[in-house]
């Protein structure tokens, strides 16, 4: 029986991109539904009525939401090219660092990108502290997954794309290659990996998009 696999995503969503990457690693065929979040489709609202967000993976009519949950679903359903480690402790560590990436690293980098003055200085310091932990995780490894790309690489993948874009727009040094050599090398390796590199959204469009997103924050009057 033919499997029906559909991915609802946007052209730029970093969360959706994780799923595109995972599906490619697993060698799976699927249909893409490109959404415009300012005009959400009825299908999106039907499949994700609670959060109304992308990505949504629909497998044989059943929707799965939340990118990290989708990654685990994909890994448990299609066993080739495993994404998560087999060992329960290693698995727990991968999940822990993925959560840390979402809750701390992404937040501090976004904060540094959108703030100014003292607030920005603090966000940069927080970012540097957070990155020290991530750097540690890469000791002796090419990827977070070891020799090959895995779950945690996909969870951190946004860094390989967005950090240089944010740095270009803001003139900030977010990931100093001297302070974080392993992380910088990882960003290059991940970005240029043959499975990954053709999947990045068009850079000029991304620069335009994030410049526009940053504007309102710059125009904020600091009282």
């Amino acid at each position: 029986m033919a499997e029906e696999l559909k991915l609802f995503r946007t052209w730029s969503s970093r969360y959706s991109l994780r799923i595109v990457q995972a599906l490619k690693i697993k060698g799976l065929e699927y249909d893409t539904v490109l959404e415009d979040l300012s005009n959400k489709s009825d299908s999106l609202l039907k499949y994700n009525p609670i959060h109304k967000k992308v990505p949504i993976l629909v497998h044989n009519g059943k929707p799965i939401c939340e990118s990290l949950v989708i990654l685990e679903y994909i890994d448990e359903t299609w066993k080739q090219n495993p994404l998560l480690p087999q060992d329960p402790y290693e698995k727990a560590m991968a999940r822990f660092w993925a959560k840390f990436g979402e809750e701390k690293v992404l937040v501090s980098i976004w904060s540094a990108f959108t703030s100014q003055g003292k607030e920005q200085e603090e966000a940069l310091a927080t970012t540097a502290n957070n990155l020290k932990f991530i750097e540690e995780q890469l000791k002796g490894k090419k990827f977070f997954g070891g020799e090959i790309i895995g779950y945690l690489d996909l969870a951190f993948g946004w860094m390989a794309n967005l950090v240089s874009i944010f740095e270009e727009i803001s003139n900030l040094k977010l990931v100093d290659a001297e302070l974080f050599p392993l992380l910088s090398t990882w960003m290059d390796n991940f970005s240029n990996d043959p499975v990954i590199k053709e999947l990045w959204p068009p850079r000029d469009r991304m620069v335009e998009k994030f410049k526009a997103m940053r504007e309102p924050y710059l125009n904020k009057v600091i009282v």
């Binding site: 939401c65 949950v69 448990e76 329960p88 402790y89 999940r95």
Partner: protein
Amino acid sequence: MAPSDVQLLGSWASPFSIRVQMGLKLKSIEHEFIEENFLSNKSDLLLKANPIHKKVPVLIHSQKPICESLLIVEYIDEVWTDGPSILPSDPYERATARFWTTYIDQTWFPIMKELEKAANDEAKATVIGKVIECVVLLEAAFEKCSKGKSFFGGDNVGYIDIVLGSYLGWIKVTELVGGPNLLDGTRTPGLAGWAERFLSHNVVKDVVPEPNKLLEFYMMVKAARASSSA
């Protein structure tokens, strides 16, 4: 007595700690419970076991620490496979369980915390409205997941049961301090029945604190905070 290979650094009042205790109990895992005193400085053991977040719960298994309550519960389920399963075995049901446990902790619980901070009646009413919306969604989730049986996990207590269940003491405290009756038999009959059944389950015994004890603790923490910011 031989030292246990499994230690749980936790706090009797913390829902995050409570759910791990429930997981350990479900699997009949012998362990040492090390109470972290919420009102005093963080212990050296905690700071060493969880240097990043410095929070409970932390499970220490064969001297390796695992942090973050949901991750700990999944770890327990994956390591101790001869006890009853906590998560379902079907990948779609597992994804559904993970979705709802994330929703409970990251959407519903932060709104509950807003209730405490609501400055006036109008703000309180707005937050109560949001909380009730969440609870109505959880009622629908219960109907779907339980498929007419006693728990989110079906006949047996499972992942969503222990995650939502770990908040039941605090839900009662919210009511005692004049908040809304969340698991009301009219609005959420499924959840009201579920809560009653869950609280009588043996996984809960000695683990879910008495609401009055929690209320006392809440008052003490509130007073301590007020005096430290005075």
